[in-house]
Symmetry: C2
Subunit: 194 residues, 2 copies
DNA sequence: AGGTTTTCTTGCCCTATGACAAGTTTTATT
DNA sequence: AATAAAACTTGTCATAGGGCAAGAAAACCT
C-alpha cells in the first residue's frame, strides 16, 4: 500500500491514473540520493534511467568545442530529470547532468519504463505529454534566443522560475541564457536600477 | 493491397513494421495537395492532423512581438510536418506552417493516430522515436545558437541540408539561423571568397 | 578564525551583427 | 517584352554583448 502523501503520488496526481494503476506504477520507482556535485549523467554514457527530484537542484550542460560548458536546463523539486534523446534512442549522450546540491530522487529504469509504457494506456499518454511539454519549453527558449534581448530572457526566467534565479549561480544561468557571466551581471545591475 | 512502391512504404520501411501492420497503417493516410503559399497550419488553430511530404517544400514560423516572423523549421520530401505541441496537447498553436511550393502530402488525423498509437506497439515506438528525433534537432540548433557563430550555423546547415539552402529564400534561412538577411548575405560572400 | 577558492562586479576596449537605405538582380505577371 | 514585385547585395553607422583583467564579496574549508 502506497502512502497517500508519498512524493510520487503528488507527481502523478494531475494525470488520469486510477488508484490501481498508481499502486502498480509507484512501487517500480527506487529512491536514490546524489550528493552535491555528483554526476547523475555523464557525457558518452547511454542513459538507462530517469528521475523525479524530491529535493535539491541539478543542471544539465553540454561542453562546446572550445571546452566551455553551456547549461541546457535546470531541475528543481518535482521536475523530471531525463535526457530524452539518450534514454529513448539508446545513444551515448552529449549531456552532463550534475547535482548542484544534495538531491533525493526517484528513479525508473528503461525496461521498467517500457513495460509500463506499453502496458498502461494512461502511463503512455502521460509520458508523451511530459515529453511534449519539454519540447515546448525548449522551443520557447529557442525562439527567445532569436527574438528577444538577453535582458528579456532573464526577466522571463525570473518571472517563470524565480527559484532557479535564487538558487543557481550566475555563471550557470548566464550560459543558459546565452550570455557571459559578465553581461548577466550588468543586466542584473541595469534591471535593479530601474 | 498497397503498392510496393507507395510513397508511405518508403517512409515506414526503416521501422520494424510487419506487412500486416503496414496494410493497416498506410490506408489510413489521405492524400492532400497544398498549392504554393497555402497555409497548412495557422496560428491560433488547434492542429488535428499531421502530414508527410511527398513533394514540395514548406516552412514553419512564429511571429514575434514586433511583428517579424522567425522561421522555426523547413520541410522537404519525406519529412513529417507536424506541430508536436498543438497536436498532442490539443492547444491552439503559435506556429504557422506554409507551403513554399506546391506540395503533395499524406495526412493523418488525431483520432486515427490515437487508434494506431494505442493499438500497434511498433507504431508507438516509431512515433516516439520521430518525436525524440525532432527534440534532438531542436536541441542541437538551440545549443548552436549559443555556442557557434552565425557563419558556423550556416555552414552546418549547408553541410547537413543542402537542399534547404538551395530551395529556400535567404530571408527565411536568415531568421532560422538567428541573423538578419543582410548579415546572411555577408556571411555568404565571406564564405565564397575563401 | 584565517586562509583559500569561488562567485560576482566593474572598467576598458573590441567585434559581430543590427538598422536603415540605396542599388542590383531575379522572378512573377500581364 | 514590359512592368512590377521580390530577392539579394552593399555601404554607412550604431549597439549589444564579448574578452580580458582587477577587485570585492561571499562561500568553503580545516
Amino acid at each position: 500500500m502506497i502512502s497517500r502523501d508519498h512524493f510520487l503520488n503528488n507527481i502523478f496526481k494531475t494525470s488520469d491514473f486510477s488508484d490501481e494503476e498508481l499502486a502498480v506504477i509507484i512501487p517500480k520507482f527506487k529512491k536514490v540520493a546524489f550528493p552535491k556535485n555528483d554526476f547523475i549523467l555523464e557525457e558518452g554514457k547511454t542513459e538507462n534511467h530517469y528521475w523525479f527530484i524530491e529535493s535539491g537542484f541539478a543542471r544539465s550542460y553540454v561542453v562546446n568545442t572550445e571546452g566551455k560548458d553551456i547549461s541546457t536546463n535546470f531541475y528543481a523539486v518535482g521536475d523530471i530529470v531525463i535526457d530524452w534523446t539518450s534514454f529513448f534512442l539508446r545513444n551515448p549522450t552529449r549531456e552532463n547532468i550534475q547535482a548542484l546540491t544534495d538531491c533525493v530522487c526517484w528513479q525508473l529504469d528503461f525496461d521498467t519504463f517500457q513495460e509500463l509504457f506499453h502496458g498502461i494506456r494512461s502511463f503512455r499518454e502521460q509520458g508523451r505529454t511530459t515529453l511534449v511539454n519539454s519540447y515546448f519549453s525548449l522551443k520557447e527558449q529557442s525562439v527567445a534566443m532569436i527574438a528577444d534581448q538577453a535582458s528579456q530572457r532573464y526577466l522571463k526566467l525570473l518571472r517563470e522560475k524565480p527559484h532557479i534565479i535564487q538558487n543557481i549561480s550566475l555563471k550557470h544561468i548566464a550560459t543558459y541564457l546565452g550570455v557571459t557571466d559578465t553581461s548577466l551581471s550588468r543586466i542584473r545591475k541595469e534591471i535593479s536600477s530601474e
